[in-house]
Amino acid sequence: MTRLALVIDLNKCILCHACTVSCKIHHDLPLGQFWNEVFTVGPSGEFPHTSLYGFPKACMQCDKPACVSVCPARATEKDKETGVVKIYEDKCVGCRSCIVACPYGARAFDETKGTTFKCELCPERREQGKQPICVETCVGGARVFGDIDDPNSEAYKIVHEKHAVRYLEHLGTEPCTSYVPA
């Protein structure tokens, strides 16, 4: 099976927010809405042993997405071919149940269009053989995109060699996006 996802190395994120900005520009997201955001963790510890790092939040492209099981209009699904959690704009009724149900706060609502939107890992760019815009613009090389089920992909190698972790796994959503710990 193919499961496209991001692997994000927290040691390489320099908190430049280029991923957030390029995503917002590329997808023309409304004011205050994000598909990916970088949180600042810290500073923590006492001088001289202090640390500060960035945590880029992304859609986790879950295998058992909490957002899908609450959709009353069957407007969103886990795509079987790519593993990407997709939303169909023409089917969405705009009830925002999915936004409430997503444990990661990964979805956003477009008030002007009246429907919910999310990161689908740039399908229009993938069609042209390009990487998602956030990966291309990441100056630190923290974001790696690929098929986490393909042993030959870089993403697969990083997940396994660097022991990438997933967040809020106890909620049972089986997230695919993973992080190399800082």
Binding site: F39, G54, E111, G114, T115
Partner: protein
């Protein structure tokens, strides 16, 4: 950094949860009484059915108007088993049809059916929130129980208001007295459930404890203590114990309704989710 409020569920959804509860509780309690009395309360139960249809109609309008794409609401009905929200939409329709059936034909089938669908309507509003795992404060079977208790309590309150405002309502003094006795029990039960609920949530996972904090001391504290606990439960309880006169009854009923709305509003707003590393806490609220 100033953040824009998340576009999730707000006062319109809380109002809907409240109105559906009042409508269900009002018809449910009178239909049960009518069933037990062998159909002697047909007139007041019919008038209550009309009021409940109105309340549920307003609630449904709020719900549809809250959609980003209101004209696509039919998609919710066409996918009945897709989610709790769709199941609930059908429960509402069946409840409304049962009330129309009662208005048209009366009889024990529709009164008892009305009681069943009233409980289903009031209960599902709690299950709708309860199945959302991302927000642990809602993940308890006690939530639908609390909403059903509040629904019947506020339902009886609205019946009391009707009885004092409408001369032709025709609810006999004995039934009226029985209902206020039941309401007294429901208020005590609601206080107990809220106390137990918050105690358990306060000792469970971090997001649920944050929700309790938000209710007791945080952003929702005024509505929780003032609207729900004091105005909505304690004062009506004291009033009911002090006197059962018409005016006191009416005042107490109005306060119970304020409490019912405050319950839905604060419990909805307090449903926070777990935070990711570095995530600002305000982003996790509804």
């Amino acid at each position: 950094m100033k953040r824009r409020r998340a576009n999730t569920w707000d006062i319109r959804i809380a109002s809907y949860l409240f109105l559906a509860g009042v409508g269900a509780g009002a018809f449910g309690s009178l239909a049960l009484l009518d069933y037990l009395e062998g159909g002697k309360l047909h007139l007041p139960t019919s008038i209550t059915a009309l009021l409940s249809l109105l309340l549920i109609g307003i609630g449904t309008l709020l719900l549809v108007s809250d959609l980003g794409k209101p004209l696509r609401f039919w998609r919710v009905l066409l996918n009945p088993m897709s989610s709790m929200l769709s199941v609930g939409a059908w429960i509402l329709i069946l409840f409304a049809l049962t009330m129309l059936g009662y208005l048209g034909f009366g009889g024990p089938v529709f009164s008892l059916g009305g009681v069943v669908f009233a409980i289903a309507t009031a209960g599902y509003t709690g299950i709708l929130l309860g199945v959302i795992k991302a927000r642990p404060f809602w993940n308890s079977p006690a939530l639908p129980l609390l909403f059903v208790t509040s629904a019947f309590s506020t339902g009886i309150a609205v019946v009391t208001v009707l009885a004092s405002a409408l001369v032709i309502y025709g609810l006999d003094a004995q039934s009226s007295h029985l209902l206020s006795q039941v309401d007294l029990c429901l208020i005590v039960a609601e206080l107990a459930i809220i106390g137990l609920y918050l105690t358990i949530m306060n000792n469970s996972a971090a997001p649920a404890a944050r929700s309790v904090e938000m209710l007791l001391r945080g952003k929702q504290a005024n509505t929780f203590w003032g609207g729900l606990i004091f105005a909505g439960l304690v004062v009506p309880l004291v009033l009911a114990l002090a006197s059962s006169e018409g005016v006191t009854n009416l005042l107490s009923s109005i306060l119970v309704l304020i409490g019912g709305f405050s319950l839905r509003y604060t419990f909805l707003a307090a449903g926070t989710r777990a935070l990711l590393p570095g995530e600002p806490a305000e982003a996790s609220y509804l």
